[in-house]
């Protein structure tokens, strides 16, 4: 009854694939070289990788929803990380330990993350077209506010009694807090060993639940509204969608998820340096997502998993490769930092360039169409 209309994509699929996934391909090649060079046995690379994947994936997944709503890479997830850290400070002060301590931290951090997310969302709405750099600067700005709360607020205005997390002067939190009471409590909740490699089953359960939530969320009306807003703000507005509210909601959800992600991350590491463990969160999560082949307007769960594996293999391998190659471990360290920033700069630039080329092709296609029909009659 309905004849299938032939689609009119011009570019041949292979070239299209190459451009689309250029970043992951380059990355795979770099890792392929560095892996043998580093001299690490496959076994302990996999073990290290398993830990890193389990503690970072949740954070990277938190980036998906703002991309869907057209807000680009949400550098503002650092605010979620701050909310998580504040809640961890409270449960350490109250001496709440074990899995209930972790869950309580997640519970009390949710309202804080919602407030931070709402604040960031409002600001991003006022900077349409420049969301990413504004999000980036907001995270720096909030770092200042965070310091006011934690370095000066806690201990006098906000009651903190536990002496071993307070600074000697009586107020302000120490630079490093040990979270032994909740260290790897989630990872070892359901212990499982495959060969010599421990698998944090509970953490992966959390990750799987989040993946299901994201897939389910895309099917809801709100998810569809967000996609519409992401595709075209004006069309969404004329069709009656409250564009501003939807965008803020996407940031709030992302900030709350990032807050849980940071708690899972710190739970695995076991110590928290209060004032800079959240700074690099945004950069590494976004770099990993971009390495997975995501772009500023299109990102899905497969990008997350490809990205986290590739990115963190590079992370594990490059210092050793640097040592073997140049005899300088420090070299590998800087190479790691360079690759993370470089991959973001490269994929953002590639995306912006492709956007201009695609718009040019679209314009040309319409022009040729008009020529073809008008010349005909």
């Amino acid at each position: 009854m309905m004849k299938k209309q032939v689609s009119t994509t011009t570019m041949n699929p292979f070239v299209y694939f190459l451009i689309n996934y250029s970043v992951p391909i380059i990355f795979a090649i770099v890792v392929a070289f560095a892996l043998p060079l580093s001299g690490l046995s496959v076994n302990n690379v996999v073990r290290e990788l398993m830990i890193r994947i389990s503690r970072n994936t949740f954070l990277i997944l938190a980036l998906l929803i703002p991309v869907m709503a057209g807000m680009g890479m949400n550098f503002g997830i650092v605010l979620g990380a701050m909310a998580g850290e504040i809640s961890l400070i409270f449960i350490t002060d109250w001496h709440i330990v074990g899995i209930s301590g972790l869950l309580l931290a997640m519970l009390i951090s949710t309202p804080i993350a919602i407030i931070f997310g709402y604040f960031a969302g409002i600001i991003l709405n006022r900077a349409k077209g420049r969301e990413m750099v504004t999000g980036f600067m907001v995270s720096f700005f909030m770092n200042g506010i965070y310091q006011v709360i934690v370095l000066y607020g806690m201990g006098n205005i906000i009651p903190i009694s536990n002496p071993d997390i307070l600074l000697p002067r009586g107020y302000g939190i120490r630079n490093a807090i040990n979270l032994l009471s909740i260290r790897q409590v989630l990872d070892n909740l359901i212990p499982l060993k495959v060969g010599t490699i421990p698998i944090p089953v509970a953490t992966f359960l959390f990750i799987i639940v989040l993946c299901i939530f994201i897939v389910w969320f895309k099917k809801t009306k709100l998810g569809q509204d967000m996609r519409t807003v992401g595709q075209d703000n004006e069309v969404a507005r004329t069709s009656g969608i409250d564009v501003e509210k939807t965008r803020v909601l996407s940031i709030v959800i992302s900030t709350v998820l990032a807050c849980y992600g940071q708690i899972i991350f710190l739970q695995n590491i076991g110590t928290m340096n209060t004032y800079n463990s959240h700074e690099q969160v945004g950069v590494f999560a976004i770099a990993a997502l971009l390495v997975g082949g995501a772009s500023v307007t299109k990102a899905n769960i497969t990008n997350v998993f490809i990205g986290v594996i590739l990115f963190h293999t590079m992370f594990v391998v490059s210092p050793r490769a640097g040592k073997e190659l140049m005899g300088q471990a420090q070299l590998g360290e800087y190479f790691r930092v360079f690759v993370s920033y470089g991959v973001i700069a490269f994929s953002l630039a590639l995306y912006a360039w492709r956007k201009r080329v695609e718009r040019e092709n679209e314009r040309r296609k319409v022009m040729d169409y008009r020529k073809s029909i008008l010349v005909k009659n």
């Binding site: 001496h95 330990v97 519970l107 009471s181």
Partner: protein, 127 residues
Amino acid sequence: MLKKRFVIRIVLIVLLVLIGMFLYINGKEHKVIIDNKEIIVNDDHYKATADYKVWLDNKEISLIEKDKRIVAMITGSNHKIVIESIDNQELKGEKYERIFKLKNNESALINIPAMINFLDDWIIKTS
């Protein structure tokens, strides 16, 4: 319709608060000091007679020798302490068991000789 939704949300919030409190209580860490030392209760002397193996909330803690003190951390509010005398690695079968409750940020001081002789102040709670 709206009223029903309003009620559901209120119930949800209450539920969340309850879960929070439950987690707080369940996860709260308390300090327990156990003394295997002589105790004088209205001038009766109860001496420490043997070494004991100690279990707290059926988790083996450690061995406590005569006139020694050990410190342990336990979580949650209601607890059970089990001790059994031990003489160079063999269990002598003398078992004593007591249960006790700890509120908010209380810590406990347990005295084994008082416990064996079923005295009242075998446990002193301080917050």
